[in-house]
Symmetry: C2
Subunit: 296 residues, 2 copies
């Protein structure tokens, strides 16, 4: 970003339920993209792995059949939709890269249908009902910013949202808006005791990425019950001061939309000049797993 | 931290006003330390540069006279108080290291009055009414954890709180509780429009450090009017899930106190296993100022 920008893209996030009918999910997403475009959206971001139910609730080899190569039928449908609706689309796909090699991958399409960029999820979770390490090889493309006709954007995916390193690196590459396609929900036996705290921590982390980096942050999340999981929706857009501009409900399918005035980034970053003052001479330990030895 | 801990230190934060009478400020702090100890505190943390008015509202060479060597009269008074009250004290001092060489320095005293560790503020702000770059040489001790008889603690100072790198590095050194002695406030002409957002961003950042690192975070802040600044108080303690356990008012002198059950750290970090999944192979860019060249 060598010059100030005057772009103010309208950004829409699609929060939806998924059935076991993949074509129906894709069709629904295409409908929502069209609806968002009709209400003025210029960038539309879909939730994580939007074309199927969340496939990682068990370790089941049959689930690999849900994956597709990129390009493949779903990416081509999205490319066509981007061109047809004249919107940038940020999508999340279960990528079959080769036999036995799968990724959790984001593809960004520009308004002409071209592929503006690809990101492969770098941080892979593995928790009860989120057995992603069984399915996804960690990304090998690093963190990146993707130039589009509507602004320079970054995509991180779900679990990446808990790592300040991911947001920082994506912002340092010049991303003005960070997207976090997400599939996160409550476990039924935890929701009453821990549910509000979990949801709040999730939103707090991404608000902190907006603040620390002076960028917009947008997180579309899955909604509805699938198996044991209750996806908590609450998709949101945050401004570079960390204020939530718009937030969806916990229960319903929704499209949330807001203008992201990219000129705000320079204002915020000169008033909160964190990038000016990073101590890059003293950050070497961030490349270590732990620093216990050095503390002794 | 090679074994689980059963320590549950009571932590107290002293939020107070300061006058131009340095001895009176020190005496007040010693009184508050005693009061906190009487109500069971085992670790007491003072606000940033507690012994004087915030000295950086202008660039004034006379303010350097407020600094002291370490050890010096104020540090010796704190050492004696730690021993007398049998508490760990986390203090923040204007350090005169040599002629023309000053730091914004935290000193931690253990319950026997010994110096457990020292930290020099690494990130130095420079904003209207916070002209710290004029006064303080950036710290040269790096980020560290300090072993005390009440737990392994880290200290960062005020502006450091906006940098996820500082919290991460301090936690990777093994700190279980991060302290942020702070002096932050509102400018009168900004408070009504931006005040709530600024305060919220400040708390959000530190809550995110607790979440990302699975540690307790404690931030004592100055309160009251000094010159043009209205220090906003609101000192707080956050648990490793990012929940605010206790928060002081915006207007009054207070001591806030909470138990920090250090066994919670292992529970939280195994349920939210972020340290397990950091992509240290892909974080090299964090040591760069910006990554614009690599994006082209």
């Amino acid at each position: 970003m060598t010059r100030a920008t005057t772009q103010k893209p309208q950004v829409a996030l699609v929060q939806m339920t998924c059935s076991t009918d993949k074509q129906a999910n894709v069709d629904k997403a295409l409908d929502r993209i069209q609806a968002a475009a009709k209400q003025g959206a210029e960038i539309v971001c879909l939730q994580e792995l939007f074309s199927t139910p969340y496939p990682c609730q068990s370790e089941d080899h049959a689930q690999f059949d849900l994956a597709e190569p990129i390009p493949g039928p779903t990416s081509e449908a999205l490319s066509a939709a981007a061109k047809r609706e004249q919107v940038v689309i940020v999508s999340s796909l279960f990528e079959r890269r080769s036999a036995g090699l799968y990724h959790n991958t984001a593809v960004v399409f520009d308004v002409d249908g071209s592929t503006a960029g690809v990101y492969r999820k770098m941080h892979i979770p593995d928790d009860p009902l989120y057995y992603e390490k069984f399915y996804f090889t960690p990304g090998d493309l690093g963190f990146r910013a993707i130039e589009t006709s509507k602004g320079k954007i970054g995509v991180c995916i779900c679990w990446d949202q808990w790592f300040p390193e991911a947001a920082r690196l994506t912002a340092l590459h010049g991303a003005q808006i960070l997207f976090y396609p997400t599939a996160i929900g409550w476990l039924p036996n935890e929701k009453s005791e821990y549910g509000p705290s979990q949801h709040n921590a999730w939103e707090t982390m991404m608000r902190s990425h907006a603040i620390a980096n002076g960028v917009f942050v947008c997180a579309p999340n899955r909604v509805g019950h699938e198996g044991e999981l209750e996806f908590w929706g609450a998709s949101f857009i945050v401004d570079p001061n960390g204020n939530v501009v718009v937030r969806a409900s916990h229960e319903r399918e929704e499209i949330v939309q807001a203008e992201c005035d990219l000129a705000r980034i320079d204002v915020v970053r000169t008033h909160w000049p964190f990038l000016r003052d990073r101590r890059i001479d003293a950050y070497g330990g961030l490349l270590k797993r732990f620093l216990d030895d050095e503390s002794r």
